[in-house]
């Protein structure tokens, strides 16, 4: 078993202690954790979820823009954070694992370790059905 980088271990511990829904990916974009507050929005407990490499995330969590059109991958905040190493924010709709569409606000930031290593990204998100 491979140990996660220390920055992601700390981030997961942080996620376990806050009420803000948080989603964490590694540098490859694989989902490695979401916390309990995020489970309500994503529709399934993390411990009951299958492993989710980056390649299957778009299938598991379909996303649309506010006009109900499929959201291009390049506009998803986490993808922007990972690919461009910049923070990104968007309002979008996401299909949870319980089959429910929800409108969320999501802000993603890249996680860059000492020496400039990209170790992953984190997204905080909130359900927001306001027009």
């Amino acid at each position: 078993m491979t140990q996660q980088p220390i920055e992601l271990i700390l981030l997961r511990q942080f996620a376990d202690h806050v009420a803000t829904p948080l989603w964490i990916t590694d540098a490859a974009g694989d989902l490695i954790y979401y916390n309990e507050p995020a489970e309500t929005i994503l529709g399934r407990r993390f411990d009951e979820s299958e492993p989710m490499p980056a390649a299957v995330l778009a299938e598991r969590f379909a996303t649309r823009d506010l006009d109900d059109q499929p959201l291009p991958t390049q506009r998803i905040p986490l993808v922007i954070a990972l690919n461009q190493r910049i923070p990104a924010h968007a309002r979008l709709r996401i299909l949870g694992l319980d089959g429910t569409w929800r409108t969320i606000e999501a802000t993603a930031i890249p996680i860059i370790g000492q020496g400039g290593r990209l170790v992953g990204a984190m997204a905080a998100f909130w359900e927001n059905d306001q027009p």
């Binding site: 078993m1 140990q3 942080f14 290593r117």
Partner: protein, 277 residues
């Protein structure tokens, strides 16, 4: 590989009748390869006597710093080989996003905090270490960041089949309600995994830790649990609290020496102890 402990005390050197057994000097460990190659782990106050013990100092000495807290660097300015123009001293330590290793060390090792400017010593060479592998003489070194305030490295040192893991300042239980759980999420696991000898932080008792969470150190029991989880052969307790006397440490170690209930062979980290791998 032969390992000798020259300093085992944590945080602050503590000389006195109460610390003769476990030692009063701060972190310094001598590692000798089968061919006599020399590698030094940390530059605490124990480094001074280590330096004085070198009858024939090699032309190159390598010192791996876990981090730059005072108890791990205060011996550097008293390490006699750095004043020898025929010796090149290579100092390795964690990379920072702001300043190079040498610049950060010079904040302390220069007037008014220290009488000599280390930058005036041409024999010193600094290496900023990022997580990864590198070769030092006959040793394969793996460095990785571990849980401790500020950038802090743990090291895994391999020579042939012998593996030494060195995590002198480490709080892997931080933020975990059920330590140790999944190794994937435990700081330092990859460094320590199935090492022949693990030198690990064991500074606090459980009752002391309750008021020192986040200070970057382990309890004695958590160091044992970490060693067991990582499947190491032998655990050397290290970074003893300056307020822990020999008698206190003997009492703390007694239930676990010889294997106890954990299956890990516990070796009390005493200054002067030598281990063969």
């Amino acid at each position: 590989m032969k390992v000798r402990l020259w300093g085992t005390r944590g945080s602050l050197a503590r000389a006195g009748a109460q610390t003769v057994g476990y030692g009063g000097d701060t972190s310094a460990v001598e590692v000798r390869g089968d061919d006599g190659s020399l590698l030094i782990l940390d530059a605490g106050s124990g480094l001074q006597r280590l330096g004085n013990s070198l009858e024939a100092c090699p032309a190159r000495v390598d010192i791996l710093l876990s981090h730059l807290h005072m108890d791990h660097v205060q011996g550097l300015g008293f390490f006699s080989p750095i004043f020898d123009p025929n010796v090149s001293v290579h100092v390795w330590g964690p990379v920072s996003s702001k300043l190079g290793l040498g610049e950060r060390l010079l904040r302390y090792l220069s007037p008014p905090l220290f009488p000599v400017r280390l930058r005036e010593l041409p024999s010193l060479v600094f290496h900023d270490v990022e997580p990864g592998d590198f070769q030092v003489d006959s040793f394969r070194v793996t460095a990785d960041l571990v849980l401790h305030p500020g950038p802090t490295l743990g090291y895994r040192i391999t020579e042939d089949d012998a593996v030494l893991a060195y995590l002198p300042d480490h709080e892997p239980a931080l933020g975990s309600d059920r330590f140790p759980t999944n190794p994937e999420w435990i700081s330092g696991y990859s460094l320590a995994k199935r090492a022949d000898l693990l030198i690990h932080d064991a500074q606090y008792t459980n009752s002391e830790y309750a008021s020192r969470v986040g200070w970057g150190h382990s309890t004695f029991e958590n160091s044992l649990a970490f060693a067991e989880m990582a499947g190491v052969g032998r655990l050397v307790s290290f970074h003893h609290d300056p307020d822990h006397s020999d008698q206190f440490l003997d009492d703390l170690h007694a239930p676990a020496v010889g294997g106890g209930t954990s299956g890990v062979e516990l070796l009390p980290g005493k200054q002067g102890a030598v281990f063969e791998l």
